[in-house]
């Protein structure tokens, strides 16, 4: 079984991103970049399936600038066998990314696609579902458990009310939630080995995908800032403030 894993280069989750002062875009010029945390969970899940003997090959794909090679190498250091970069300096919307992935899938014919449920920059939570629509594959989004057997994927999903389990006919798409697994750290020998693994590069144009944006960002601004309030001395003062000043309890 072949698994395709999509990974995205994003601003590291520890960086507090701010808008540029002219409000045209976010200021991330010198920000530390990393693999999107949900994508890392996706890679880990694929590697575990390979270690269990369920999967035989893992292909890591990324869409983005040339530097996204770093995130593909990270995925290969964790255990992906080879990589494909769809190189583009444009900001690609989820629909365009899904179209690129569809074209890759037409060449690679994976049995399972695993990707993060959302990237922590755009917070869209769309690409997996869109890829499902474009390829007619079923989707197990927000997964906290994945079992593969008899040509099916049984996926437990984190939903608002608790957990839901669905059964999907392969090939299928899984998007990862936080509790699916805890990604390993890449070992130094594996980081060295990853540098020698094959990494092909293509472009959206080569794949026949039009990436012209449909949604234009007119402005970015900081959210309304909350002012820090006061410290209360004890529980009695807290209850008094909540009752008589904020009037939120009675």
């Amino acid at each position: 079984m072949k698994i395709l894993v999509a990974v995205k280069r994003v601003v590291d989750y520890n960086v507090k991103v701010r808008p540029k002062s002219d409000g045209t875009d976010v200021d991330i010029a010198n920000a530390k970049m990393s693999i999107n945390p949900f994508c890392e969970i996706a890679v880990e899940e694929a590697v575990r399936l390979k270690e269990k003997g369920v999967a035989t090959e893992i292909v890591a794909v990324s869409m983005g600038p040339k530097q996204s090679q770093e995130q593909i190498r990270t995925a290969m250091a964790l255990g992906a066998d080879r990589g494909i970069l769809v190189e583009s300096d444009d900001a690609l919307e989820p629909l365009a990314v899904a179209k690129c992935l569809k074209a890759i899938i037409a060449n690679e014919s994976p049995d399972l696609v695993i990707m993060g449920k959302q990237s922590i920059d755009g917070d869209n939570n769309q690409t997996g579902q869109m890829l499902g629509a474009l390829t007619s594959m079923p989707q197990g989004t927000f997964a906290s458990e994945v079992e593969i057997a008899d040509g099916k994927a049984k996926v437990t999903r984190e939903i608002d009310g608790g957990l839901q389990t669905v059964e999907l006919t392969l090939p299928a798409i899984v998007t990862t939630d936080l509790r699916l697994n805890e990604p390993r750290y890449a070992s130094l020998p594996n980081i060295m080995k990853a540098k020698k693994k094959p990494l092909d590069t293509t472009t959206p144009a080569d794949l026949g995908v039009d990436t012209a944006p449909r949604v234009q960002t007119l402005k970015v601004e900081p959210p309304a800032e909350r002012q820090a309030g006061i410290k209360v001395a004890d529980v009695a003062e807290l209850v008094d403030k909540l009752k008589n000043e904020a009037k939120v309890i009675s």
């Binding site: 629509a133 900081p222 904020a246």
Partner: protein, 309 residues
């Protein structure tokens, strides 16, 4: 303008999130129709017809829609959606599961989690865990949006008398099936709808200690939430997580107990009207957003709080 609102429901009743989405639809302006896709869902359809401001309710009652599997519902939405200028989903796990799939079938770039309507094609939405608010404009003929409920006050559930029309669609992609679900059972209010929320973090140390929060919650009529750290550590189930990738809440009062205040947690609760933080670390970032901060050991403060209510 003709707007299709996709109802959130459990076949028997309408979920309150639908009322916030209708409010967003009103802010756009135009005829508002509601789609109830389910199985044996006539009751939910009737409830939708009573919602203030709804002109028509479409009920697609078929076994294929019983658990609102995205593969099937997205086919239905794409089939009827071409007739509308806007298709609005709640930004619930269900809405987020279906909306992008329907949008892609319509060749539309969806817009997630809108928090304001600037005009019929321009919306505001948070990005980067809410550290940045983007104003975005769609050039697609049909706008597919998910709506963050906390940003729109719900319309009244009663007062309307919309016509109900049955749809005969039975779209079944045949690629997915429902196996089962484990839903949290609680007498406390729903986390996203509660006017008071009390949440625990890593400082709670284990799941048993959440009992202290449940006692306070029951005195206040509050819901109980948790930080990602508490859920990851297995103290409490995932449906209690408040944050960037969990639930977004904006109650009148939010009490954060033993929560340090990571960016990802703040993204889920910083629009609360009044925030209280109880933490023994006075440097904890949660105090920077708290209206009332109490530097104290939660194991002393929470029982004292309970007994003084």
């Amino acid at each position: 303008m003709s707007i299709l609102v996709i109802a959130e429901h459990d076949n028997a009743s309408l979920n309150g999130a639908t009322l916030n989405v209708v409010a967003a639809a009103k802010a756009i302006g135009g005829d508002i129709e509601v789609l109830v896709a389910g199985s044996d869902c006539a009751a939910a359809g009737e409830a939708a017809a009573k919602v203030d401001g709804v002109a028509k309710v479409l009920v697609a009652d078929n076994a294929a829609f019983a658990h609102q599997l995205a593969e099937n519902v997205s086919l239905l939405v794409a089939e009827i959606g071409k007739n509308y200028t806007h298709i609005l989903f709640p930004a619930t796990t269900n809405g987020k599961n279906v909306a992008p799939r329907a949008a892609a079938l319509l060749d539309v770039q969806a817009i997630s989690d809108i928090i304001s309507v600037e005009s019929a094609d321009t919306f505001k939405r948070p990005v980067y865990a809410g550290n940045v608010i983007a104003t975005v404009q769609s050039s697609d003929a049909v706008k597919v949006l998910t709506v963050r409920g906390t940003a729109f006050d719900p319309v009244p559930a009663e007062g309307g008398s919309a016509a109900v029309e049955a749809l005969s669609s039975a779209d079944d992609a045949g690629t997915s099936s429902f196996v089962g679900e484990e839903l949290a059972v609680s007498d406390r209010p729903d986390l996203t709808a509660a006017s008071i929320v009390i949440s625990g973090g890593r400082g709670m140390q284990n799941g048993d200690n959440f009992e202290m929060l449940y006692k306070v919650a029951d005195k206040l009529g509050a819901a109980v939430g948790a930080s990602r750290a508490a859920v990851d550590a297995g103290f409490v189930p995932n449906d209690m997580q408040v944050g960037q990738t969990g639930k977004i809440v904006a109650p009148d009062l939010y009490v954060a107990v033993g929560i340090s205040g990571a960016i990802q947690h703040l993204a889920g609760m910083k629009d609360s009207k009044v925030i209280v933080a109880i933490n023994k670390d006075e440097e904890a970032p949660i105090f920077q957003v708290a209206d009332y901060g109490l530097v104290a050991d939660l194991f002393d403060a929470v029982p004292e709080l309970e007994s003084s209510l």
